[in-house]
């Protein structure tokens, strides 16, 4: 809770008011039996009928006041805890969005999700309930103790001596249960993961008839969740019986000591009777307080998980770099770049190339050779281990991430298609004018299929783009990349699902309407890259060939081999 204190602080004033109103309600509530005692003990014996109505009226007034105070305070507690949660979630989502790919890998997606939803929910509930229950019980507890102290100090001390013991119980239980609740949330992450995998992999699972296996897998984590849930429950459930036992035993001792004191003439039996009354009150208050601690354990575990994410440091900050040299510089330059995802074996090994503005680069190479990594580095989703990546002569590490990325239009492999209209997917949260959307769709060869859909641009794309074919998704994504009128266009195998004809038309449109755009294009087909100004062949992270199509046809055996295999018999080099 400490670590999310800064979210609570702006509302402390508001919360204090809530507490005060709640307190007023509690006082008014206590006045009701007080007035009643007056009626029964003083007024009735004296037979003053009008006063009965007066105090009766006061009782009604107090009841009304109590109602008003509690309703208002409860509403206030809901409002402030809601606002705090709103702010926490906002920051948490923001932080999660900006996590680097590496950080997200460590955190894992299901865990990120459940922190954002279930954990913040727990915190919200805790905050609201703390405010609702957190004032009355301690006040009654304190009041009861004070009353006892005014009546008989030694006897009251018996009870007070019990309090540290109860505090100890609460402390131990909390200390033990917070880690358990934290673990419970971790297991919940795993439950979420299995669910997620089963939803996204539904076709494969059904096709392989693995339903039973998946059920078992789910049952396993489900059982685990129940187990940890139960363990946490068993521990926290001990709080109530244990603390009432301690208090009750204190009561017993008090009766015994009271007996001696009465026998010795030090106190009266009436005091003991009164003590017994207060005891019930204190016991109830005590149980209320321990209940708060139980709630706190769960909320605290969640708060810690939330804070853990909020406190993850930025791992790719903007660093000072030398300014771009004067004069003409290449648009994009890789200078002896080496990079590894895991630190074991290089995924990019001493790569250098230069692209002038408006030039295009095609990257070819076997699966896993590091083609996509080049794009990841260029967009600064990762930082190179050594070497430099320059845009307009400036190291990308020195450019603000948002500014850097706003220059790109990019399509990743099997990229993200979201639920929403086709237009939403093309605009992708940007302020793109309708004409640009239509033009981009045209250039991406997407108009043809969009026209066949009901509502055209307003056609609803299903979750994960499930109602579009692979090729339609790709064209939609290319339209998205073009719609922002980017300076640099990155296409990672973006047209693999397109038939050759459409692919060729796409390339023609790109040349005609986006000729000034510097393009980096990863492809499997030579036909896709043969017209690029430069072609880079990677193998296992190592640049093995670089040049134009004609140069490579002349110089690279590997390139010729691929060309031969793709172009079919005797049609090579047409």
């Amino acid at each position: 809770m400490k670590r999310i204190w800064r979210y609570i602080r702006p509302y402390t004033g508001f919360i204090v008011w809530t507490m005060i109103i709640k307190l007023m309600g509690a006082v008014l509530e206590l006045l009701i039996p007080y007035f009643m005692e007056i009626i029964l003990d003083d007024v009735v014996p004296r037979g003053e009928t009008p006063l009965i109505f007066v105090f009766g009226g006061l009782m009604l007034l107090a009841s009304g006041g109590c109602l008003a105070c509690n309703v208002i305070a409860n509403r206030m507690s809901a409002v402030s805890s809601g606002k705090i949660t709103l702010a926490i979630r906002h920051d948490l989502f923001d932080r999660l969005q900006r996590l680097s790919a590496r950080q997200m890998d460590t955190l894992t997606l299901p865990s990120a999700e459940s922190r954002l939803t279930s954990d913040t929910y727990n915190v919200n509930q805790l905050l609201a309930r703390m405010q609702r229950l957190g004032i009355r019980a301690p006040i009654l507890l304190l009041g009861g103790i004070v009353m006892m102290l005014t009546m008989d100090v030694p006897l009251a001390m018996v009870l007070i001596a019990m309090l540290p013991l109860i505090a100890l119980i609460v402390y131990i239980v909390t200390k033990k249960s917070v880690p358990l609740y934290k673990e419970e949330q971790t297991v919940l992450d795993r439950v979420v993961r299995v669910l997620q995998e089963n939803i996204t992999g539904i076709r494969v699972i059904k096709a392989l008839s693995k339903t039973e296996h998946e059920k078992e897998r789910f049952n396993e984590v489900n059982d685990e969740l129940m187990e940890i849930d139960r363990r946490a429950g068993f521990i926290t459930a001990a709080t109530n019986p244990l603390s009432s036992l301690v208090l009750n035993l204190g009561l017993t001792v008090m009766v015994l000591i009271g007996a001696y004191r009465v026998n010795g003439g030090l106190t009266e039996s009436g005091v003991i009777i009164a003590f017994l009354q207060y005891f019930v009150m204190i016991l109830n208050a005590m149980l209320g307080v321990t209940r708060i601690f139980v709630m706190w354990s769960k909320g605290e575990a969640s708060a810690v998980r939330v804070a853990d994410v909020l406190e993850i440091g930025e791992d790719m900050t903007v660093v000072p770099v030398p300014d771009a040299p004067a004069g003409s510089v290449p648009h994009i330059e890789f200078r002896d770049v080496t990079f590894s995802y895991t630190g074991i074996g290089a995924n990019i090994d001493h790569l250098s190339f230069k692209l002038e503005r408006g030039e295009s680069l095609g990257i070819l190479g076997p699966t896993g050779c590091g083609k996509s990594t080049v794009l990841n580095l260029l967009m600064r989703l990762y930082d190179p281990d050594s070497g430099e990546i320059l845009i307009d002569g400036k190291d990308v590490r020195g450019i603000d991430g948002r500014e850097l990325r706003s220059r790109f239009g990019v399509v990743f492999q099997n990229d993200f298609v979201m639920e929403g209209t086709i237009r939403d997917n093309i605009r992708f949260f940007r302020d793109v004018p309708e004409t640009a959307v239509l033009a981009a769709a045209d250039d991406a060869q997407a108009t043809e299929f969009i026209e066949t859909r009901d509502g055209k641009m307003d056609y609803g794309v299903a979750v994960r783009g499930n109602n579009l074919s692979g090729g339609q998704k790709q064209r939609l994504l290319i339209a998205r990349a073009l719609a922002g009128d980017p300076e640099i266009l990155l296409l990672d195998d973006a047209s693999s699902a397109l038939d050759y004809k459409t692919d060729a038309e796409l390339r023609r449109a790109l040349r005609q309407h986006h000729g000034g755009v510097t393009t980096v294009m990863i492809a499997q087909r030579i036909s896709s890259v043969k017209n690029c100004d430069h072609i880079l062949m990677l193998d296992d992270g190592v640049p093995v060939a670089y040049g134009t199509h004609d140069e490579l046809m002349a110089a690279s055996a590997a390139y010729r081999r691929i060309a031969a295999s793709q172009m079919g018999d005797g049609e090579v080099g047409a």
């Binding site: 009735v44 906002h90 089963n198 076709r203 139960r230 009432s244 692979g470």
Partner: protein, 606 residues
Amino acid sequence: MAKGPINADPRVYGSASAAPSFSKEKHSRMYLIRRLWQYLGKNRLLLALALLLSVSSSLLSLYGPKLSGEAINAIDLGAGRVDFDTVFRCVALMAGCYVVSAVLGYLLSAVMIRLSKRVSRQMRRDIFESMTRLPVSFFDRFQTGNIISVVTYDVDTVNQSLSSDLLQILQSVITVVVSFAMMLSIAPKLLLVFVFTVPATMLFTRFLANRVRPMFRRRSAKLGELNGFVEEMLSGQKTIRAYAREDEVLSRFDGKNREAVDAYTEAEANGTITGPSVTFINNVSLTLVCVFGSLLFLGGDIMIGDLSSFVQYSRKFSGPINEVANIIAELQSAFAAAERVFSLIDAEPEQPDAADAVELTDTDGCVELRDVDFGYDAEKTILHDLSLRAEPGSLTAIVGPTGAGKTTVINLLMRFYDVTDGAVLVDGRDVRELTRASLRRAYTMVLQDTWLFHGTIYENIAYGKPGATMEEVVAAAKAARIHSYIMRLPDGYNTVLTDNGTSISKGQKQLLTIARAMLPEAQMLILDEATSNVDTETEEEIQAAMRELMRGKTCFVIAHRLSTIRSADHILVMDAGRVVEQGTHDELLRAGGFYASLYRSQFATE
């Protein structure tokens, strides 16, 4: 009690029905209670034990004060005359009593925890079971996060109130009954006050419950929507960063967040009116009892002692009523959550196999589509009058521009969807006469969208063949040309694949799924753009293995690289849901139609 007249038709909450629900029906409270009871009923023994424990601990807690009273009587004899024998006996009994009551209290909680966690587990299990029976189309419609929200949040909400509230209601009912009897015996006339206030409480509680239930429903739904949004956007995090759209997505998130928080606050603010309101009604009744009691006393109708006891009992009486009223408000959130839980459990499953469906065994792999019409929406036909016959062991290639309906054909073959008209036949038998599981087992499938789960590489490859040995897995990986990559990973085949799998490329993922497909023995094989992200050289390298994989099997291949399908026995050229041409590669080239132009465009120099 006061679960209230149940006839209130929940359909009147039109406003809340805007929230998406997994199935169409809405349920009455009675229905929900019945369903919840089914879960509790499965644990009758625990339930009986809980009841026994709660009654005995209640009795013991009544016995304690009695003992202390006795002790005080013994003390009350005055200084020097205290009856210590009695005091000691009482104190000893009290201590024993409290210990036993603490033990019982703990046992009771333990039993309730056991019970409620079991119910939670059962609910989650049932939801998952239901999910496995749902048609593929269901998951194409609902956001993953929203479904997950039901399993995590809604199940939890139901059980939180189930475990604590149920017991509370029981105990309260006992106290109410006892107090009522006592009051009846003391001053029946004063009970007239309650004739007023008790119905008032009940009516008010019911009124409030009806008012807040749609709010709680909205709270559940909005939280589900938030989850759905979060799940979707976090899965697209890389793209959002690439487009530097974090701020815009964040503001979109803020909207959803605000809606969820507002729904929560509204439900909370209104739900918490119940407690203070019922307290208010009780205080009014107390005032009335007090005032009228006093007047009765003054009129000589009752004695002062009676009045005092009556007041005591009436306070005892109202306490539990108050409690129950509070719980009923809380139950509204449980009902709203239960509704979502049950609507997911009851979501319409895949049409069950026909009663007389037979297992498909030893198929020879003859597949036929006969005059098939199909559309995902009833109004919109995607496939028109499609016919196709694949002989056992043949290779059928399906080509055509994107969106021509190729993947739809696969959906029909696998029976992820059923045809609207016409029939799909395997071995001359309508697939609807076969069990789905056996039909799907007869196929092996590699899809364009690779799906790998959080597990080791070994587990991922062996997924289709339980108990596959490491040798088999390695052989498959070698054939799929992914072995050497795996060996370079720090943990080799035991490397756990992570979500983003940053260090593994899409092409490598495809190779892994191809390796996976090599293990199971199936008579039919479907390759839907199985190598679209694999470079052509690697693709060529795995051709041998692919041919091996395809040997003797009836194969369906979708590919854009026409070179990979040149050797097909039969090529089906599709456009806009219709077969426009079919034949062998050479025939189609000679025909000089659609296929020929597609093929030529592959090598066009532009």
